[in-house]
Amino acid sequence: MSLYLFAPGQDPGPSFFELLRRIEPGQGPIWGAPPPQGRSPSGFEVRHGTTIAALRYASGVVMAGDRRATEGPSIAHRSIEKVFPGDRYSAVAIAGAAGPAVEMVRLFQVQLEHYEKVEGTALTLEGKANQLAQMVRAHLPMAMQGLVVVPLFAGWDGLQEKGRIFTYDVTGGRYEETDFHATGSGGRDAKTTIKLGWREELTRDEAVELAVEALFEAADEDAATGGPDPVRGIYPIVATVDSGGFARLDDGEVAERFAAVLHRRERAEGGGSR
């Protein structure tokens, strides 16, 4: 570790990613490294994270992710975290190969904070979303080898005074969603659930409950998505971002929402077992 000083033309500016490239040429973060040519990562099972969802409500956004990671048909981890704060006013969730995904989030967090400290002001939400797109694009060579990482990004836009959601594809394409999105292996079921329950001007509590219900439905249909686990006390991670910033809900509140969803479900089914 040394003091990194650069000549004016060489300066990486406020980008931490650029700084890493300058000080360790060719080394970079693990997911940015060129993969071995012509081989797919067969012969070993890659740990995968699955369902994540985000939806907008009247004064912010809710982001939620289940806790299961799988390696092929087996459960690799029961309490992995897939929803993270990007910085104070944003959240990022990941689906796909867990190793590179978690590393990408770690680098993204440092990138945002680094920019904020060097420049003295934080990036706009749009700027943060574009930064993440660049990271996803840099990851493309590994995605071609099967290590796909697809993040979901949401945050509070202080300029527009509203919550916004951004989705990505493996090529680094960045798309803004108007109201909600879900991705991962159970994403389809989660998205349908949200679609049916979503309306303009949801309250925070309603939005949280809808997110929890979406994950419940996803876990019901998708083997790779973990449902609530009251025995071990493991619940999905649910976070909100509003004008006050990122806040992760405590497990107690998520458990309560689950109980409410289950209760409603029991009544609808009339106690029958289907």
């Binding site: 003091l3 700084l19 400290k117 060097v118």
Partner: protein
């Protein structure tokens, strides 16, 4: 081929030191003190955007006086060091001591080997888990590091201001008491400093634990209404 004139090394060092001291003495001073909730830094700085005090990492802050472009370059280098170290190891492995040593090394190197020494004096402060863990490293233009106990003064008129601060300092004082005392000490008996002449920031143990933040980042600027309120509180002028 022309031979350079012989100049005694003592003379070279003395000239360089004088040059650097002159540059630093032209700038306004800055004081840093510990208080019951952390570390307070107060600088005389009429600019709202060209900061003298900045955040380096979760519990580490930077302050510089002298030539702005020179200490600002050091500030950015400090952030780069801290962020790469925290990224490679862990957030808890980033500390003020190793950064202070790097700065000292660099300043010493420039002072002895370059044409022009850097006209800066810098402070690296680290907030401890308790008051005993607080660190204040005061680094001079020639790379001399001083590990200060409870307070330090940087910049022009430092000795006079240090004399005033010595008597004003009170162990375990509150933020409001410390801010008012520091402002009084910077202003001296013949002047008044208002909120617009000041740049104030803290490394606070209770920072950001509400409003969604996790309290990891201890650095916070005290500006505008909050600063005015602190300055005009009960017992103002002390």
């Amino acid at each position: 081929m022309t031979m350079p004139y012989y100049v005694a090394p003592e003379q070279v060092m003395k000239d360089r030191a004088e040059y650097a001291q002159k540059g630093i003495a032209r700038g306004r001073a800055l004081v840093a003190v510990t208080y019951d909730g952390g570390i307070l830094v107060v600088a005389e700085n009429p600019s709202r955007t060209l900061h003298k005090i900045s955040e380096i990492y979760d519990r580490v802050a930077f302050a510089g006086v002298g030539k702005y472009n020179e200490f600002d370059q050091l500030r950015v280098a400090g952030i780069r060091h801290a962020d790469t170290k925290g990224y490679a190891y862990s957030r808890d492995d980033v500390d003020a001591r190793s950064l202070a040593n790097l700065y000292a090394q660099y300043l010493g190197q420039v002072f002895t080997h370059e044409m022009k020494p850097l006209e800066v004096e810098i402070l690296v402060a680290e907030l401890g888990k308790s008051e005993a863990g607080n660190r204040l490293y005061h680094i001079s233009y020639d790379g001399t590091v001083v590990d200060e106990e409870r307070w330090t003064v940087l910049g022009g008129d430092a000795e006079v201001i240090a004399g005033r601060l010595e008597t004003a300092f009170a162990e375990g004082w509150t933020l409001a008491e410390a801010v008012r005392a520091c402002v009084g000490v910077l202003a001296g008996p013949d002047r008044e400093l208002s909120a617009t002449d000041l740049e104030v920031a803290v490394l606070s143990r209770t920072n950001g634990t509400s409003g969604g933040a996790d309290g990891r980042r201890a650095f916070r600027r005290i500006e505008g209404g909050e600063l005015a309120a602190l300055l005009s509180g009960p017992g103002a002028g002390g």
